[in-house]
Symmetry: C2
Subunit: 698 residues, 2 copies
Amino acid sequence: MKSLFEPESIAVVGASSDARKIGHIVLYNLIHSKYRGKLYPINPKASEILGLPAYTSLTAVPGKVDQAVVCVPNTLVPSVMEEAGIKGVKSVVVITAGFKELGKEGAMLERRVGDIAKKYGMRVLGPNCMGLMNTHHFMNGTFTNIQPVSGSVAIASQSGAVCSSLLDWSTATGVGFSTFISVGNKVDIDEADLLEYLKNDPNTNVIGMYVEGANRGRELMRQLREASKNKPIIVLKSGRTSSGSKAASSHTGALSGSDKVYDAAFRQANAIRVNTIDEMLDLLQVFSNMPLPKGDGLAIVTNAGGHGVMAADACSDHGLTLASFEKETIDKLKGYLPAAANCYNPVDVLGDASADRYEFAIKTVMEDPNVSCVAVLLAPLDTVDISEVASHLATFAGKVDKPVVGAFVGGTKTNEGIKMLQDAKIPCYDSPDRAIRALGAMVRYKRMKDNPGDDEPVLVDGDKEKVKEIIKAVRASGRTSLSESEGKEILMAYGVPVPQEVTCATADEAAKAAASIGFPVVMKIDSPDIAHKSDVGGVKVGVSSESAVKAEFELMMSKVKARVPGAHINGVTICQMVKGKEVLIGMTRDEQFGPVITFGLGGVFVEIMKDVTQSIAPLTRSNVDNMVKSIRSYAILTGARGGRAADIKSLKDVIVRIAQIALDFPEISELEINPLMVGDEGKGTYAVDALVVLRREN
Amino acid sequence: MKSLFEPESIAVVGASSDARKIGHIVLYNLIHSKYRGKLYPINPKASEILGLPAYTSLTAVPGKVDQAVVCVPNTLVPSVMEEAGIKGVKSVVVITAGFKELGKEGAMLERRVGDIAKKYGMRVLGPNCMGLMNTHHFMNGTFTNIQPVSGSVAIASQSGAVCSSLLDWSTATGVGFSTFISVGNKVDIDEADLLEYLKNDPNTNVIGMYVEGANRGRELMRQLREASKNKPIIVLKSGRTSSGSKAASSHTGALSGSDKVYDAAFRQANAIRVNTIDEMLDLLQVFSNMPLPKGDGLAIVTNAGGHGVMAADACSDHGLTLASFEKETIDKLKGYLPAAANCYNPVDVLGDASADRYEFAIKTVMEDPNVSCVAVLLAPLDTVDISEVASHLATFAGKVDKPVVGAFVGGTKTNEGIKMLQDAKIPCYDSPDRAIRALGAMVRYKRMKDNPGDDEPVLVDGDKEKVKEIIKAVRASGRTSLSESEGKEILMAYGVPVPQEVTCATADEAAKAAASIGFPVVMKIDSPDIAHKSDVGGVKVGVSSESAVKAEFELMMSKVKARVPGAHINGVTICQMVKGKEVLIGMTRDEQFGPVITFGLGGVFVEIMKDVTQSIAPLTRSNVDNMVKSIRSYAILTGARGGRAADIKSLKDVIVRIAQIALDFPEISELEINPLMVGDEGKGTYAVDALVVLRREN
């Protein structure tokens, strides 16, 4: 990747003397960013472009070429790739558009580009991208005409337009970039590759990503998780909602995946997911300029009570607490501020506050041990000299070891103050809510950084051979859906407890089995053709005598036969009746991320309240803990309302085992236990039902 | 109120020649806003101020004085008020601070001001306010030095600082004000008074309010509801969260009330509540400049796919739908736009789009019958001429009958485009999310306007005399808590069904009663001293024979006596066992708004999932319908998951009756039925429990 970010020489293929051409702008940008390596314009018809000697082709270049930036028409790209391969170019940036995003033919052309790169061992960025810049390497290989500020934010964006918005934003806010990568169609290099480089890039302190769809979900998670240990990563993943996803696939043909799965992936990887571009920009501003807070205590200093109240509201919304000041702090404030001022949090320095008064208040609250971060609010009252306050703040707010942000609320007058602070690298926003939201994200990141959770997944052993046999038998019978008892055998092979049960072919057999298991029992129809047994009268709970078992056996058989005429019926299963709280554990497979484990309380909680959580396997101990705790109805499991605490320990154990089955058997496409009965603490769990579906074979 | 908003003459009491004094600025502002009525500076020491003859006192003014604006020190205000009364002044604006907001003494002074006003029949705005302006009456009676743009937005704000932020914002965005009222401490005139005037003010099309606490909750609701039938009202109520409320009361001493109750009040009044000041500003911008959309179908036109995806995401977040275009629309777009353009929604006019291409696309989608509003997105790509697009848009976007908003996403370059559009009265924002959020609010308001719900509350009759008797008897016994059976008698008096039950003093009596009601029965201890019966072993469900009733009677008595030694026990109540879904209906009283009715599904849904809703009584039919539908678990009542539909009709009837009890008996401070058993459709409901608490008498 060094040849991508820090090339010693660059050839611009398709360089042009025509100032309107991309091949001209890229070369111009490279020259004007003061690129220090060798630069070779390639153009079959020119001998010199922008003062540099031009070459007819890559192979005609005398020295070695680390990187080629390609701006020729799409149909010519494959031949340029071949040439680059022959020349020994290490990385190729294909700016040219007209590939996958145009449909089938474009996708074929793109595959050819990828294949040639592989053949020669070259890395490719793009196609259909804006290029790449590394301000610390004095290299702007993009075709934008906005000259970005240098700084510590690295950007990787799947949309060139988002790149241009970010660049324009950086010139307004003064937030500077270390590297800026437009990933385009990602025929080769994707976000995961970039993170691998960026996590060790000493010039990058924050990473911002705009993603429409991941190529290699698992690798992206791994790299995000590694990188986020040292650097905050703000991810804007669009195509969140169904209407958004539709727009995403017509845009770049990216596979958007289910949004809940992305949510789980980013959460498990400790990335900071944002939902809107304004939030992304707000967070980049604060992370690139301010130190991390040590705790969540916020002090507010304001010249306006109303804005203080709004900031306090925002405080609860964004996970901060309004710090309680030490007596010493309050006394110190009282000694300096006018009598009418409020010396408690939010500190109201009053409408006629001078810059000195602001400074005194800010410095005083900053010394309070309960304060971890400060928001400075300003309303453009006639009595306040905004530029004086801003310039004063600018001189000291960046030098303290706790983050300080401004919220100057207004328009014409406050915008000048905001600009002054931003120029001085003090984040400043136009509303209390945005300022507090930015600080809230810092607090959340600090917590993740201090406690990133386990890295090692919990792995357990299971009887793989047994499961293989069951699957083989099912395949042999031409099915993909397993019967309940087959499903339960798989669970048992992996140590998931199931209630005792015997499938019986006759009523007498059933009565005998029930007597040996102990009454009451549950009776269920056993048929591979019936997924929802209770809908067809195939389940009876609490049957409590031998005679009742016999009667129900006949009744159930006749009902089910009448309702599902063609179904193959193995008999009726007599099951031990188990007690506890019903939960659901499920597994589906995501194309990008692999096995997704779903957990929630059973019944209405899952189906109506939608109170479920997802995680991607393999699961770490922390993943499992977080899953169980994160459902809204968690208190029901811990024994709220005088109920008994459930056996959460063995519930977690089952989650781990289901994840293991999913990992060991990729041919299982779906698995669900609904319900798993979780007994009281120490009493274990029982999988009362099991639904297992195999992937269709081609 | 005419004397407040359209006075024929104004005296500025405390007018001054000293340009730093508020009394100077107010007079200056009145002169410079070209006020056309008579203006009288009042100052005991000056003969002329700012070119106008000054008078020593109000009574010394030769002509009549409609309005007095008071800027003298706080201790002098009462005497000025007396003078104003004698002079026959109709309304007084007290700008002076130093009243309730400073504590007890200030509050006393404020009360005196209010009393004097009442004595003379004068209306008072303030004290501790910024004053009032009415741009259409050429009257700026505030002390701000920002000269606002004239327009159609009326503002009423409880914070002067928020006023100054709004004024500064208006000069930046060009959004103009009709009237601007800083309400201050509201000793007399409050938001409800202002709404009464503003709803009929022909110059006002939108109303924005910043509220920290209401004085007359019910009247505010009434006026909001009336006014919102014709004009959207955007309310920012701060002090939402507990930390916010704390800041609010230290700020103005306002009673913040419970936020959930405010939420219910604004919802029932069809006001548009926003949570942050940026949202308020965004909404004012769109409502003041654009016509209401007819439906919720949004068309997106963008030069950048990525931004289109984000806008589509925002669409679902804010209650819009991405419109499906007619074939005709798509064909027309295909005929004009380049081949690579996306002609489906979001329409991508491509990075090199000219202003013409934008115009063609916008006009085309605007003609589509499925499109009700349009968002125009722009990324500052090098290939786009932002000012050309903006100036072009400016010429036609305001003339169409569907709302159009812009989202120009970037910084330096896009801000210029935003400014151009705002100058042309086209709302424009810096992110797709903000633009779509603003349109979403318009769609919501349009829906409310078209279907504002009933105005008339549902009132029912009850046996008032019976309830009075019960309450009298409880009072006579020195209690405020009613026993369950007393509570149920009240319910029955108002037609709320309760299960059959008889309180029995002996085990034999109990057995007999149970036999007559029919088995199984529920047994409950009857004691006014025990609120939570089941906690002390005082409830037994499903007792199914006479002998079991006898045994349980003795057991329960001994258990309860042992656990609550001092309790007075009337006996054991034998109740009919009823079936159905458990819901909770409760009533508490809010100091501002009166009876608040709470509804939710019983048990864990209320206690753990917090799935409840509130409304303020009296309730209209629509209020009740909305309450029942608005809980997340509503589907359980309609018979989701193969369950039976509950008797929602009689559930609603009980809600109405509880509201009626609350309205008829203000001395009942709290009432709760938990659970109310709602039977299957047509089977009615039964109040299984009843908790009634009376207000303590002084």
